[in-house]
Every structure is written in structure tokens, then in C-alpha cells.
């Protein structure tokens, strides 16, 4: 039992579960404060998400919708995770996601490209956008968090400007992909029939596949080792002959590519249209931070964490609107990120508790041994 508890992965899992439970609990308390009458139903509605429907095919359809939005979230989370492993906090994932959406939509609607070129174009643009942060970090010593935030806003406004050229004439939304550029829709490979939901595409399995690839790159390749070494100690890595500047830039290019792929994976399913009048950066990149940390900074853990975050975000739509607002799920996810800051402390507390009980046992053994001598 203790051996299991000492395992790092198990500790991460326990810490994440504690964060989730506490986050939901605090969310419930907030609901109680707002209106005690419906609080229990509301928090259950958030947790149940698609199980709020009683009919099986509707459940399946809405499960599919949750998955459609999980794929981009997972890719954003992987972007944050990958950079964090190299000691960089990629808050710019939100902007890189926007750039991905912009590039893929513009290529699809403006130039009439097919889905694969659109996807690749988004990846390239995202990588270049991430490279800006990397260049500023490695050559000008600009904090990547601040430059990331600035680029988020720059990305949002440029996207609004560009996509205004391919929007519907009467609304602020971009043209429907299905009617205007059907060639750019991501293929479904029968997943749409399986889930009874036309928006479920290869994006979902693709995102999971990429999570596995990231795991392999980080743990099993020389590149991953060098990047992590650079993250641990930039000077030591340089001393050991690694190109630490290039490594930082490369990391942020990969991170940017991942987040941008996320943007493309959502908008090329025609699940949503981009509104060119939006005045705030979409939350997907920021939720990616939540998912990455909740997943214990492990790509496989992140798959489940992304699903959970998206599950409660969609679930928020089911609360009784006459009493509460759907943002309650944003509140819960932000509380969870806040609590993730305490993960180190939770692990530390667990380790001390284990060490203490082991000491006691040793003491006992020694004592009983002495008793035997007498």
C-alpha cells in the first residue's frame, strides 16, 4: 500500500482528484450563496452534462459534441505542457490557437484549399507565431508570459481584421464551412454516424494520437531529453554543448504548432463560426493551462483532464438559468487551476506523512526487538 502511495504518478493522480473535489465543493458553496434552493441540482447538472438528457441517442450526440471541443482543448493543453516541461509558461497558447483558427479558416474560405493543406497551413502559422515568443525570450530576455499575452491580443485583432474578408454579409460570423468550402471539412471516417453527430471528425483520434507522440518525444528521444535539460538549467545545458537558444525557440515553435492545430481542429469541423467582432481572446488556450496542470503534466493524464474540463464547461450550460449562470463552470475550472498551485505542497505533505508512519513502524520494530531480548 505504501509503495503504491510513494509512486509519483499515483501521488499526482491523488493530488488532481483532491483539486477536482475541492473545486466542485467550492463551486457548490458559491451556488449555495447565490441561491440555496437549486444549488444541488445545479452542481449535479454541471457534473452530469450529457446525462441530463434521458434519451440514449441524445446522450450520445451530446457526448460527441463534448468530444469535438475536447480535441482542441487537449491540443492546447499539450502545447502548455510541452513548453512547461522545458521551463516555459506558454500562456500564448490562447493566441496561437486563434492564429490556427484564422489560418485554417482563411485558407479554406478565401483560397478554397482542401482540409489537409488548411491543417498544415495552420500548423506552420502557429509555429511561426510561437517562434516570435521564443526569439524574444532567447535573444532579448523578454518574459514569455508577458510577450505571450501581448501576442494573444495582437493575434485576436489581426484575426478579426483578416476574417472580416470571408464573413457573411449580414452577420459578423464567418461563412459556413459546409456550404462555402465543403472541401475543407475534416473527414469523419464514420465517426459522425457512430456518434450520430456530424461534427465528430478525425480531430478527436488525431488529438489523442498526438498526445501519445508528445509523450514519446519527451520521454524516449534525444530531442526531448535535451529540451528538458535546457528547461532544468539553461546554463548547464549550454555547458554540456546543447544549443540552448535554439532549443527554446524550437520548443515554442512546437507549442505554437500544437495550439494552432487545436484551433484548426475546431473550426474545420464547422462546429462554430468565428465572430469577427469578438473583443476577448477565446478561453480555449487558458483552459488548456487548467487541463495541463490537472493532468499532472503527463500527456496521458492530460487527455482525461481535458475531457473533464470540457465536460464541466459544457455541463455549465445545463444549470437553471433563472437562478445561476453557465459561467459557474469557468469558476470551477479556475478554482481548480488555483488549487493546482498547491499540488507540490500536497505531494510534500503525503511524503512527510508516509515517512512519519514508516519511522513509527521502525521504532515499533526496534522496541519490540528490545522487548524480545529481555
Amino acid at each position: 500500500m505504501k509503495k503504491i502511495l510513494k509512486n509519483n504518478a499515483v501521488q499526482s493522480l491523488i493530488a488532481s482528484l483532491i483539486c477536482i473535489v475541492l473545486g466542485l465543493l467550492i463551486g457548490y458553496i458559491v451556488l449555495l450563496f447565490i441561491n440555496p434552493r437549486g444549488a444541488s441540482e445545479a452542481i449535479l447538472a454541471v457534473i452530469k452534462n450529457f446525462w441530463n438528457y434521458s434519451r440514449a441517442n441524445l446522450q450520445l450526440k451530446n457526448f460527441g459534441s463534448t468530444l469535438v471541443k475536447t480535441a482542441p482543448l487537449l491540443l492546447c493543453a499539450l502545447s502548455v505542457l510541452f513548453a512547461y516541461k522545458v521551463g516555459l509558461f506558454n500562456i500564448g497558447a490562447a493566441g496561437q490557437y486563434v492564429i490556427g483558427a484564422c489560418a485554417s479558416l482563411y485558407a479554406a474560405l478565401g483560397w478554397g484549399w482542401g482540409w489537409l493543406p488548411c491543417l498544415l497551413f495552420a500548423v506552420v502559422c502557429g509555429a511561426l507565431y510561437g517562434a516570435i515568443v521564443g526569439l524574444l525570450k532567447s535573444y532579448c530576455n523578454v518574459n514569455e508570459v508577458i510577450s505571450g499575452i501581448m501576442l494573444n491580443w495582437i493575434g485576436l485583432y489581426s484575426t478579426n481584421m483578416l476574417l472580416a474578408k470571408v464573413k457573411e454579409s449580414t452577420s459578423p460570423y464567418t461563412l459556413h464551412l459546409k456550404s462555402a468550402a465543403p472541401q475543407a471539412m475534416l473527414p469523419t471516417l464514420g465517426l459522425d454516424e457512430l456518434f450520430n453527430n456530424k461534427n465528430v471528425t478525425i480531430a478527436v483520434p488525431l488529438a489523442i494520437l498526438i498526445a501519445v507522440i508528445i509523450l514519446i518525444i519527451l520521454d524516449k528521444t534525444r530531442l526531448g531529453y535535451e529540451l528538458k535539460a535546457t528547461g532544468n538549467n539553461r546554463n548547464a545545458a549550454k555547458y554540456a554543448g546543447m544549443a540552448e537558444r535554439q532549443n527554446i525557440i524550437l520548443t515554442l515553435m512546437i507549442a505554437g504548432a500544437l495550439a494552432a492545430l487545436g484551433g484548426a481542429c475546431l473550426y474545420l469541423t464547422d462546429f462554430e463560426q468565428w465572430s469577427v467582432t469578438q473583443s476577448s481572446v477565446p478561453g480555449m488556450g487558458f483552459n488548456g493551462i487548467a487541463a495541463a496542470f490537472l493532468g499532472g503534466l503527463n500527456p496521458i493524464g492530460t487527455i482525461f483532464a481535458s475531457y473533464f474540463i470540457q465536460h464541466i464547461t459544457v455541463g455549465g450550460a445545463f444549470v437553471d438559468k433563472t437562478m445561476y449562470s453557465s459561467q459557474i463552470s469557468d469558476l470551477i475550472s479556475s478554482i481548480i487551476i488555483y488549487l493546482c498551485g498547491f499540488v507540490l505542497f500536497i505531494k510534500y505533505a503525503m511524503n512527510t506523512a508516509i515517512a512519519k508512519s514508516e519511522d513509527k513502524q521502525k521504532q515499533k520494530a526496534v522496541n519490540s526487538g528490545k522487548g524480545g531480548e529481555k
Partner: protein
Amino acid sequence: MLLLIQYTLIFASVLLLVALGGCFSEHSGVINLGLEGIMVIGALGGALMMRFLPSGTPAFFMIVLVLLSAVVFGVAYSALLAVASINFKADQTIVGTALNMLGVAAATVLVKAINTAANPDDVSSEIQYAGAKKAFLININGFEFNWFMLIAVIMLVVAYVVLYKTRFGLRLMACGEHPQAADSVGINVHKMRWAGVLISGVYGGLGGICYILAGVSVWKFENGVAGFGFLALAVMIFGQWKPLRIGLAALLFGFFRALSNVYFGFPFLMALNLPGSVYNMMPYIISLLVLAFTSKRSRAPKAEGIPYDKGMR
């Protein structure tokens, strides 16, 4: 032209206040990336006060109470950062980011709840304060003087005096440079860092309420404060963590932010025929450029971002 000066001054006031907040926190050794969230919560405190005060309240009381409410909210919220990053040694970047998201989410949920309770059909996250706002403004020949311009200058002087002329300020800065040394001469590092973060809550809260009073008279809390907390951090870095330089930097950044509000008043800018988005982007682009050129030589407090551990040397 007058309008441009007016907006420049008011946005510079916001940036100055928030940047000074960041300055206090970083000098004590804690990176405060949660300034944006603190601004939102401070703005929420002020806006709620304006909403619930009866409309006949004399202007002086109105100003004092609104400021007080914003400060209390800001300080209480910054305590969340302090407890996590100082007592529990949490990663300051994660906690700061979480506070930014939490601020917007909490304010939205709360304001929506208040609006819905008052009127079940009202599901907006807006607070209106057109009447209360008048208390803050004095019209001088078409120039709208906002009390916050004066408050910002006073707070700048206060920050300068506290940091450089008092024992407390010098001790605070010692904790950001070399906490072990500070500890060895009997300064309580944890207490000093708490003080630094809470003071940044005071400044951040003031900056938040100032921001929503700058141009509009209704605020939608879903929108947050559009990266202003981070612009303020850029101002702080450009100002090299020194209050007076931060003041000048704030004016520069305030000018570019103001341009996006009033560019259509200038025929030669209109003649360029650029889309409005370009002007919206301007402050962010300028700050990136400024950071690129100034960060190399930056003299940040040495121990910032590192949790203090007595066992380390």
C-alpha cells in the same frame, strides 16, 4: 486634441496605479501575474458600491466609499496570491494565471446572480453607474478632469516615499533582492512579502475601478480588463521597477492606448485609412517592441519568483 490628452492621462493613471502595485509586489520578491484579476475584482468592488449607494449621496462620500470598496476587494483578493505563493510556496506563475481567470469568472457569476435576483429576465453581466460616475468628473472648458488623475499622482508620490524614504520600504526591497540576508538581520521575510502583495492589491484595486470609470458608464464584467494588468507589467519593466520612471512609461503607453479611442478625431490618421483593429493592437505592439529593446538590460529584483525557504543559502 484635448480629448487625446484627456484619454492619455486617464489611461496613464490606470497603468501607473497597477504598475506601481506590481512594483511593490516584485520588490518584495513575489511576481504578481494576477494583477489583471485583482483589477477585475477591485472594479467589481467599486462598481457594486456605486450601484447600491443611493443616488443622492454627496460626491465626496461617493468617491471615498467607492475607492475604499475597490481597495478592500483588491486587498482581499490579493491575499489569495499571498497565501499560495508565500505560505505554500506554490508556483507564482500558475497561481497568478489562475487568479486572472478566477477574477473574471467570479465577477461574472456574482454580477449575473445580482442582476437575475433583481429581475429574472436580466441575465447580463453588466453594472450601470452613469449617475455615480459624475462624482468623479469635473468639466474644465471641455476637458473632463477625472479625480483619478490626481489620485494616481498622489499614489506615485506615496510609492516613491514609502519605497525609498522609509525603513519599511528599504526592508521590503531587501526581501526581493536577498531574502536570506534580510532574514539574517532579523527581518521577517514572510511578513514583508505579505505586505508587498497586499499593497499591490491596494494599487491593483484602485487601478481596476479607475479603468472602468475611464471611458464608459456601463461595464460588462465578462470582458475582464483586456490585458491591462499585463500592459502594466510591461510598463513596470520599461520603468525598471523605479516609481518615477514607471510614471513616464505609463504616459507613453497611455498615449498609444488613448489613440485607439480617439484616432477618428484626427484627419491625417483617418486619411491613412487603417482599420480600427490596427489602433486596437497598437498598445500591445508597442509594448512588445519596448520590451524587446529594454529587457536585455533589465534590473529585476534578484530573488523575485523564488519562494523563500529558510534552509537555502
